[in-house]
């Protein structure tokens, strides 16, 4: 039955141990790839890409700002989908992924807002404007914080998981509505003095490093998510036999190293 076999990978995901061991094998590669892409992208973007005609060097923050904002948004959907999988298939692992995605996403959203503010000061002369996109990002930050707060509010892990999964899903339905309404609110209330979308056609020399940084940040996100999830797995499965074995092994290695 080919169709049955096709799904085995999915069912295997139900085992945190399988995930821990598989990602353990990926980690060295992912670390190398992430560091390589990040350094090349940053050096290329910050050092070698041509200056912007109007903004000079200050535009270079785009190489951090844009990829981070991308992932802040994509991360919310990943979190919500992980939560939905957890609710539907009652999979322990996906709740762990969901819980790990929340702080990473919140940090990325904050970083997007922060880099935006730093960029805004030299370009527009102000750190903050109530622009549609900035406002939406701020709301996204609070959506993340809500999921995070709800997760930790419950004594029982089970309830925290389910509650924050439901909240993440409710947020997913709402995100397009919030974005559209904030967009509409902005066009209604404020004159479009500042255009964030003023660089649709980018020079290829500027675009290539940006693309590289976007890929690098995706790798970084994957790495961070895996590391957070691994920590979460160890924390939650601390009473499982395989984790105890792992800890004992680590103890042995440490003792052996101390003897050396």
């Amino acid at each position: 039955m080919a169709s049955n076999r096709d799904w085995t990978w999915f069912y295997r995901l139900g085992s945190p141990r399988w995930f821990y061991e598989t990602t353990g094998r990926w980690l060295p590669w992912l670390w190398t790839l992430t560091l390589l892409l990040l350094t090349t992208g940053l050096v290329w973007g910050l050092g070698y890409a041509p200056q912007d005609a109007k903004q000079g060097n200050s535009f270079r923050i785009i190489y951090l700002h844009v990829p981070v904002s991308f992932l802040a948004l994509a991360g919310y959907y990943l979190m919500a989908i992980a939560g939905a999988i957890g609710l539907i298939w009652k999979m322990k692992l996906s709740y762990m992924v969901m819980k790990s995605a929340a702080p990473i996403g919140a940090a990325l959203t904050f970083l997007a807002l922060f880099t935006g503010a730093v960029w805004g000061k030299p370009t527009w002369g102000t750190y903050w404007v109530w622009d549609a996109r900035i406002t939406s990002m701020l709301i996204l930050l609070f959506l993340y914080l809500g999921v995070l707060a709800l997760q930790y509010a419950f004594h029982s892990q089970e309830s925290g998981n389910k509650a924050s999964a439901i909240l993440a899903l409710v947020g997913t339905v709402n995100i397009p509505i919030i974005y559209k309404s904030v967009d509409w609110w902005y066009t209604l209330h404020q004159p479009a003095t500042i255009k964030l979308t003023s660089a649709p056609s980018m020079h290829i020399d500027m675009f290539q490093p940006l693309l590289m940084m976007i890929i690098a940040l995706y790798c970084f996100y994957a790495l961070a998510l895996i590391l957070f999830t691994r920590a979460e797995i160890l924390q939650r499965e601390r009473k499982a036999a395989w984790v105890c074995e792992l800890a004992l092994q680590a103890d042995k290695v440490a003792a052996w190293e101390a003897e050396e």
Binding site: L87, I139, F142, L143, L145, G146, A149, L150, A153, F154, S156, E158, S159, K162, A163, I166, L167, L169, V170, G171, V173, N174, I177, I178, K180, S181, V182, W184, W185, L188
Partner: protein, 224 residues
């Protein structure tokens, strides 16, 4: 037959709020009292008040609704009647909708009714009175439904109040945008039915989706 749970819970909750009138009136008192603070805190100048009134009234109504949302399922959870609702054979979404409707009748509707009075005190232009009432009537219903999702998620927590506002305020944003926009467009002399129609569309979506989310949250969260 199919709406048995709806009317039963609607009647029950209305009766309960009638018996605890002081509690039911607290959002209304909040609305009235905060409206006193605005002229005192900002300026009693009618022109400035008129400028602020549409947005301020919506913010106050939103906070008043939020204040009352916490208790939506909390007392039922404490005295065990929530569990009775959960083990009842009918579809959970209908009793839930009944409870939320009762909540709106007790909080949103009175807020709508007194809003002309507050509008008068805050020198809201007379043309904006009807749009204010219409948008509050539709909008507070949305707020009740969305807030009930948050209330259901935090029902088993001892101190859910602050958490509830963190969860719910981001979701309230579209409602307040279009609610205050309806009033503002009327003040500016344009056709205010557009924003109101969008608000009504949001209410339709909320009536369809929120009871399901509330029912799911109640089942999953209050069970342990």
């Amino acid at each position: 037959m199919s709406n048995i749970g709806f009317t039963a819970y609607l009647k029950r909750d209305l009766l309960l709020s009638y018996r605890r009138l002081g509690e039911a009136a607290s959002p209304l008192m909040f609305f009235l009292l905060v409206s006193i603070l605005i002229p005192l805190g900002v300026s009693p100048d009618p022109e400035r008040l008129a400028e602020l009134a549409p947005g301020m009234m919506w913010v106050m109504a939103l906070l008043a609704t939020l204040l009352s949302t916490e208790g939506l399922f909390a007392t039922d959870h404490q005295d065990g009647s929530l569990e009775q609702m959960l083990i009842a054979p009918q579809l959970l979404a209908l009793p839930v909708l009944g409870k939320v409707t009762a909540h709106w009748l007790v909080t949103g509707l009175p807020l709508t009714m007194v809003s002309p009075l507050i509008g008068l005190m805050l020198s809201l232009p007379p043309v904006a009175m009807v749009p204010m009432m219409a948008s509050l009537a539709v909008g507070t219903a949305c707020l009740s439904l969305i807030g009930a999702v948050g209330a259901a998620l935090t029902v088993s927590l001892r101190k859910g109040g602050l958490l509830l506002s963190i969860l719910v305020i981001p979701l309230y944003i579209p409602v307040i945008i279009f609610g205050s926009a309806a009033v503002q467009t009327a003040v500016d002399g344009f056709n205010w039915l557009g924003p109101l129609a969008i608000l009504a569309a949001m209410l339709c979506a909320a009536i369809a989706l929120c009871p399901l989310a509330i029912a799911g949250a109640l089942r999953l969260v209050s069970s342990n």
